[in-house]
């Protein structure tokens, strides 16, 4: 008897998971359908994808992969853009096109590392603050207020000042402030989701807070977090380029886009290509991420603080 009941239960659970799978598949299908309908997100996604592919395969797609490092070629300094060097060459004769593509690697890595560190941290704190409430909420949210009382770049500068400037330290400094945005977003979402009936139902069933947070609340924040991450990627890259431009990020001879622009600016206006091409490259990537994020926001129809 009891084994039969167990069997039934198992079957039921199996069924539940399979319908869940179906539902997920359907949701992805619907999402993709709406995504395809939105030309803005398609264009943005295409731009981002192109940059990612170029960056990942940088050693194979660039004409002079060695030029990303300490290479000098004094016979060919300051060559204007032409057939051999599409974006010209710099003050020691390195190919600017190759360096820009390798620069994309650093920018994308920056976005990946910063968001990889700060999003889980911020989301976790936001969930705790929003769900637990009381003194815990007050403490967490007041700390985010302190972090947000300075512009992101200035805060990163102030934190970065404590270290010798390298790209790794810059990533850490930006991560140290970035979690606050996600904490705020998830906090406000959690607070509103917490009062929904299905959360109440779980509470009545005696589910543990942890289970409620992960099963009921987090999935309902997911699309907002996803949109925020996409929009943030462009912003993180912008802040990172700013830090590099000021000399607190990527150090030469590494090809950071911001660093290249800073060094190129000294050669304006005659060697304009040293500034213009890295600038356009950075704009292209940020523009792509913004279009993609905006399209995703319309597609997933999310709203929230800071989106």
């Amino acid at each position: 008897m009891s084994s039969k009941v167990n069997g039934d239960l198992e079957q039921k659970e199996l069924k539940v998971t399979s319908t869940k799978w179906m539902e997920l598949k359907n949701r992805i299908g619907r999402g993709w359908f709406r995504f395809r309908k939105n030309p803005i997100s398609l264009v943005g996604g295409g731009m981002v994808l192109l940059v990612i592919i170029l960056a990942v395969f940088a050693p194979y797609v660039t004409p002079f992969p060695t030029h990303a490092g300490k290479v000098t070629n004094f016979e060919k300094i300051f060559q204007p853009p032409g057939k051999e060097h599409w974006f010209g060459t710099d003050e020691v004769g390195r190919d600017v096109f190759s360096r820009v593509i390798f620069g994309y690697r650093i920018s994308l890595l920056m976005a990946l590392v910063v968001l990889g560190i700060s999003v889980p941290f911020g989301v976790a704190l936001g969930l705790i603050a929003g769900y637990v409430g009381g003194i815990v909420e007050t403490i967490i949210m007041r700390i985010t207020d302190v972090f947000l009382s300075l512009p992101a770049l200035v805060m990163a500068l102030a934190i970065g000042a404590a270290f010798t400037p390298t790209i790794g330290k810059a990533m850490l400094a930006v991560s140290a402030i970035w979690w606050t945005w996600h904490c705020r977003l998830v906090h406000s979402l959690t607070r509103s989701i917490k009062t929904e009936d299905f959360v109440l139902a779980s509470q009545i069933c005696g589910d543990s807070p942890l289970r409620i947070i992960f099963k009921d609340i987090l999935p309902n924040c997911a699309s907002a977090i996803l949109v925020k991450i996409t929009l943030d990627a462009g912003f993180v890259i912008l802040v990172g380029a700013g830090l590099s431009f000021l000399g607190l990020g990527v150090q030469p001879p590494k090809p950071g886009l911001g660093t290249m622009i800073a060094y190129g600016a000294a050669h304006l206006p005659t060697q304009w290509w040293l500034t213009v091409f890295p600038s356009l490259a950075i704009f292209f990537l940020i523009f792509g991420f913004n279009l993609l994020g905006d399209g995703l926001r319309d597609m997933l129809d999310v709203e929230g603080e800071g989106i």
């Binding site: 007041r142 700390i143 207020d145 302190v146 972090f147 009382s149 300075l150 512009p151 992101a152 770049l153 200035v154 500068l157 102030a158 934190i159 970065g160 000042a161 404590a162 270290f163 010798t164 462009g234 912008l238 380029a241 700013g242 431009f245 000021l246 000399g247 607190l248 911001g258 622009i261 600016a265 304006l268 206006p269 304009w272 500034t275 213009v276 600038s279 950075i282 704009f283 940020i286 523009f287 913004n290 279009l291 905006d294």
Partner: protein, 342 residues
């Protein structure tokens, strides 16, 4: 609870934020590698001298006592000495702050007089060609880093067309106006010197636009969505059914509620523009506080970093208080909501 109580609460809260910020930066700055006393005395000072200076600077005390000493000094207007300029940081900031405030102030004006009308029109005539163009422009504006905007602007307008200067607040030969406010635009007008005013204006155009670009894009988009939100409200539909002319609906019933959202964002815009100034001042050799701050950070000039950060935090807090106040005036719902919440 009255609105004034609400504002008082905000004021206390702002002070809390400033204290938190000062502790955070103080602790970070104290972690700076390198001994400030050693840095101040140079490599040839003996260990005894360094120890003596450390004692004079109070650096042999525990960190929380050092913090208390620092705050005591700040309240008296003494922010400690800067290693680079060998002056009190308060004096330095007094000297460099007006240039930055002028830059950010003018760029906020651009944000308001360009972003808001564009957003209003785009939202009012949603999905028209104007809406589409302004959205595209806003998108592009948001994706251009301020230093890129500055450099490309220099390339086009200064080197290419030769109509705008590249660096500084004034031409080399122009005598700065007699200092009253420190803002060249205002000082030159007060002195009745239109030529200097024009020179200062031409010099601030490119930098202020570079600072403003992202903000213009953001405000345009937020105003647009705010307007289209308001226009989809029932009461607007009701006005239309009553046969009230469109013009009247736009100006009497649509405008005011549309302003709340952009207004609250202006506070944030101001903060991010102070950040942008750090990049743009570097591009244009603008002798402001941001440039001073960068130098302080690169040379690990602790008191100066601390001073600059606190001034920016203070500016941020003040602007947000003003925004709270003004949005409460414009939108009674905020007043009532905040009052009933507490």
């Amino acid at each position: 609870m009255k609105f004034t109580d609400y504002l008082l609460g905000r004021l206390f809260y702002s002070i809390f934020v400033l204290i938190g910020l000062s502790i955070l930066i103080f602790v970070i700055a104290r972690m700076l590698p390198g001994d400030p006393a050693r840095l101040a005395l140079g490599p040839f000072a003996s260990g005894v001298q360094v120890a003596k200076l450390r004692h004079e600077m109070g650096m042999d005390k525990p960190i929380y006592l050092q913090y208390v000493d620092y705050i005591k000094g700040v309240l008296k207007g003494d922010m400690g000495k800067s290693f680079q300029t060998r002056r009190n940081v308060a004096l330095d900031i007094q000297h460099f702050l007006p240039a930055t405030l002028e830059l950010v102030g003018i760029s906020i004006i651009w944000v308001i007089i360009i972003g808001i009308p564009f957003g209003l029109l785009a939202g009012r005539y949603k999905d028209s060609w104007f809406d589409n163009v302004s959205r595209l422009v806003a998108f592009i504006g948001v994706a251009i880093p301020p230093f890129v905007a500055g450099l490309l602007g220099q390339l086009i307008f200064s080197y290419g067309l030769g109509i705008l200067p590249t660096t500084g607040r004034l031409s080399l030969l122009t005598v700065p106006p007699p200092e009253r406010t420190g803002f060249y635009l205002i000082d030159s007008l007060l002195a009745g010197n239109l030529e200097t005013f024009w020179d200062a204006f031409v010099h601030i155009l490119l930098p202020s636009f570079s600072v403003a670009l992202i903000g213009i894009g953001q405000i345009t988009r937020i105003t647009r969505s705010s307007v289209s939100d308001v226009l989809s409200k029932d009461y607007i539909q009701f006005c239309k059914t009553l046969g009230i002319p469109n013009r009247l609906i736009t100006f009497k019933y649509m405008l005011r509620p549309s302003f709340t959202a952009p207004l609250t964002i202006i506070g944030l815009t101001f903060a991010s523009e102070l950040g942008n100034a750090f990049l743009v001042e570097q591009v244009f050799g603008w002798p402001g506080m941001a440039k001073y701050g960068i130098r302080a950070i690169l040379r690990k000039d602790f008191n100066a970093v601390m001073g600059v950060v606190m001034v920016i935090g203070l500016a941020f807090v003040i602007v947000n208080l003003i925004v709270d106040l003004v949005s409460g005036f414009i939108d009674p719902r905020i007043r009532l909501k905040e009052s009933s919440n507490e």
